[in-house]
Symmetry: C2
Subunit: 510 residues, 2 copies
């Protein structure tokens, strides 16, 4: 039987497997601070790659990065009633600005430093960016105004799960102001498409883009769209959202412009965001029982070279090191996905086999080992992380000539990417079910990972929608979205029996 | 008389001039949130350039980026007494995690959501990173451990000044753990040298690197070094610090390792940081009465092309646009400072002359204008931001052939850099005075911008040092540092008359 690098398999316990990948791949860990995680170097390196690639797309769209305050005065929230209702329950509140020694020698907030107006640690920045937009926009010439910020945000969470739901997380939030609804909707859909193609591209993570139902809208939004990815346990992960906010935030903050005729108009605004949650999605899309398989475009190192040193024969070690260094230089001169290939030479003082398994767990796409025999024969030994084992369960090491490996390396990285995407796409397609007539039966009897169900519905609102939502909730299901690419409706509503107007996706979700 | 783009000159009112550069160059603005600024797109673009270049140096030194929690439990601070004394006075404290509707309809912190242990918004992360290091380090094989984070930090400030002193600011903080003092000191000095060469390089800002006196040490540090830059008003700006922390943080957090002999030892730690404060330094080092002169390596756009469009003759406008676009492509293919040249085509709907002055105020190094006559003659018109005016006070526009301009552009960017650095270096050298015998007389009578004084001293400690510090304080002076490159002492202490052991720099400071 094949042995794998982790002690828990996905099949045994998916939730525990997820935690173990995070620990064993040095992605993150509990910080000791409630609800907050430490993002470790490999996890943060993945985030840096995501930031770099996403930021390039954001800038291409003419959006400018800025930075807005961490703290938001309470009064800003009070202005936008719907928004407050959505967020007021879970925010960190700063009430004092000084500590003093208390009784017993500990530290306590100084009562004399109580703030007149408490400050909220931003859960999102619509309100404070709205205030800035109101200062920056005077006339139609200033529109559209498109800004983005990379920042940390805080939403107090009772139950946390690393990368998926933490009190503090890192994200980007785009905020734009437009002259009219049409232009704002166009921007909202542009951001959605940017997220969709980013997920399918660098993350190799197939997603379904679509509109959220009324009950799942962002607090204060007129329309919310999302991208939804399918995890290996069949659950959905919302991996990015884009909102059309109408004029409600503009009215709250006074974002007005003079139109070409000299009249005063409220701007139409949008916001859109993605976060470190994507890393959770990548783990649960591509991970296997040996750890993470990191998509090459977001892998901090795409090729890792492990020199096999004996630490007894300095001359031999030097030959191996020099062979490894020149191999690194040669590989670094290659290009994959339009960028220089990222090659790491692992010089830690650790046994080569330990290093090999550490990189397997981290999911480096290509893991190369070079020892004295490779130097002599002009070869390399390598593992492809996406094809780790032979049929007999042994690691599938390859031993090509060095020149042959260098010639193939960039193409192999692109193959790893394509393979990861294809595997995930097949799983997504296979697990969307279109002929389900009884949700209770389906989700009760379909094994551990039943996937999603596509249904037709009449898009009910108000009390009828509430009833549908409650009915789904009993089965721990939610409406994920109305896929933009779904076939037109051609039947009756699954819930009301009325003529259907669109198709929706239903599933369990993170 | 020469007219300049700002309404206040440095000579008239340096503090107001500084604020005006920040406003007119779209660098930052007051946010409406106490002590916090909004960093606008040009300011944030400069910060992104600084981050990119500094991060490259940090990674080259084998330091890995991670991310640690925004919130630090009070108990972490209580463990390190000296550190607490230094910071306890000015921290934002989170005491509640929920808001509810209060009387009168406003929002108030929910009394039931009071935290058992208040959380401090990080003023710096030694304590929380120390906890992580204690988990990560077991043996000498794990050392040195070197991490860095890019983050926002908060230090409650009563009097704020944009970029120089704000309650929230952005920075990088490096934290390292070592087996012994010698290795930790080496790292501390490496970081200092990284900062020195970064300031002199990308920022074109000459600095003096040296050790801080005892009274100016980071809370809890054994040794603190800084780089000090001289602003145009003769004041000093501390632009980066590097600390050797001894084993005090290691003892507080339990950062121990097993040595080669099997014994348990405390690690020796360092920390080092630079922040958005550097942007304030760049403004006050290179700004002139027309706004910022942005050093080319950190300029988001190094060359800005303004097409002169009439908006009446579409055919002519198209020719100008096509000429400008191809010029942009040609210039973007050039390389300066080892990177591709960054060229921006300004297509805003705004008069060309307004655009030109906007870019002068922002300090784009080369500002190019192209109109129908340039298209016809195959020319460009350009301004060099470092040589804006002719002797007669008129803008010094040059009109070379396009090919000639393209051939010279990269070299001109390097010239702008060298010129800015040389100008600032001459000012720094000119304003360090070595023969001052009476500080009161010197600082009382030396005009507006007296600069710094280099003195010899006996390095007193305790009460004698306190007296020196108080005496300087009356003249609004502080000891900046003990320059690492200063000549050896060869006389008596300025303050005590005892034999001097080293030279110190004294000045007024931000």
């Amino acid at each position: 039987m094949k042995k794998s690098a982790l002690s828990v398999t996905r099949e045994d316990n998916f939730a525990e497997w997820y935690q173990q990948v995070i620990a064993e791949a040095d992605l993150a860990e509990e910080s000791g601070v409630r609800g907050c995680m430490v993002i470790r170097s490999w996890g943060y390196g993945i985030w840096e790659r995501i930031q770099h690639l996403m930021d390039t797309e954001i800038k291409k769209a003419g959006v400018e990065n800025c930075y807005f305050p961490l703290f938001i005065p309470l009064s800003y929230f009070e202005k936008e009633a719907d928004h407050v209702d959505g967020f007021a329950k879970e925010m960190a509140v700063v009430t004092h600005h000084r500590l003093v020694s208390g009784e017993g020698g500990g530290l306590v907030p100084d009562a004399e430093s109580r703030l007149e107006e408490p400050l909220v640690v931003r859960p999102t920045s619509e309100t404070v960016i709205g205030q800035a937009m109101a200062r920056w926009i005077q006339s139609w010439r200033n529109l559209p105004l498109k800004v983005n910020q990379w920042a940390n945000v805080v939403r107090w969470e009772m139950r946390t799960r690393m990368f998926l739901r933490t009190s503090e997380f890192l994200w980007q939030e785009g905020h734009t102001a437009h002259a009219d609804e049409a232009d704002a909707m166009k921007e909202m859909l542009r951001a959605l498409e940017m997220y969709r193609s980013f997920a399918e591209g660098p993350l190799a993570m197939p997603v379904i883009a679509g509109e959220k139902p009324e009950n799942e809208r962002f607090p204060g939004a007129v329309t919310t769209y999302s991208i939804e990815a399918m995890m290996q346990d069949g659950k959905a992960l919302q991996a990015g959202t884009s909102h059309y906010l109408g004029t409600s935030f503009a009215q709250a903050a006074g974002i007005k412009y003079q139109d070409r005729e000299g009249g005063q108009q409220y701007c139409h605004t949008t916001s859109w965001g993605t976060s470190t949650r994507m890393i959770g999605g990548v783990i649960m899309t591509h991970g296997d029982d040996d750890g993470l398989r990191c998509p090459p475009q977001i892998a901090p190192h795409q090729i890792v070279i492990i020199p096999m040193l004996r630490e007894k024969d300095a001359e031999e070690d030097n030959k191996v090191l020099s062979y490894a260094s020149s191999l690194q230089a040669e590989l670094s001169a290659l290009s994959a996905f339009g960028e220089a290939v990222r090659v790491h030479l692992d010089l830690k003082s650790e046994k080569a086999s330990n290093k090999r398994w550490a990189w397997v767990k981290k999911g480096a796409p290509l893991i190369v080992e070079v020892g004295p025999r490779d130097v002599e024969g002009g070869n390399v030994a390598y593992l492809r992380r996406d094809r780790l084992y032979k049929d007999n369960g042994k690691p599938d090491s390859q031993f090509p000539a060095r020149a042959e490996f260098v010639a193939d390396a960039a193409a192999m990285l692109e193959e790893v990417h394509a393979g990861l995407h294809a595997e995930a796409k097949a799983r997504l397609d296979r697990n969307i079910h279109r002929n389900v007539t009884d949700l209770q039966e389906f989700y009760g009897n379909s094994g551990k990972y039943p996937g999603w169900v596509e249904l037709q519905w009449s898009k009910p609102t108000g009390a009828v929608l509430d009833k549908v939502v409650d009915q789904l909730k009993e089965l721990k299901l939610t409406i994920r979205n109305v896929p933009v690419d779904a076939a037109p409706a051609n039947g009756d509503c699954f819930f009301t029996g009325e003529p259907a107007v669109e198709r929706i996706l239903i599933g369990r979700a993170y």
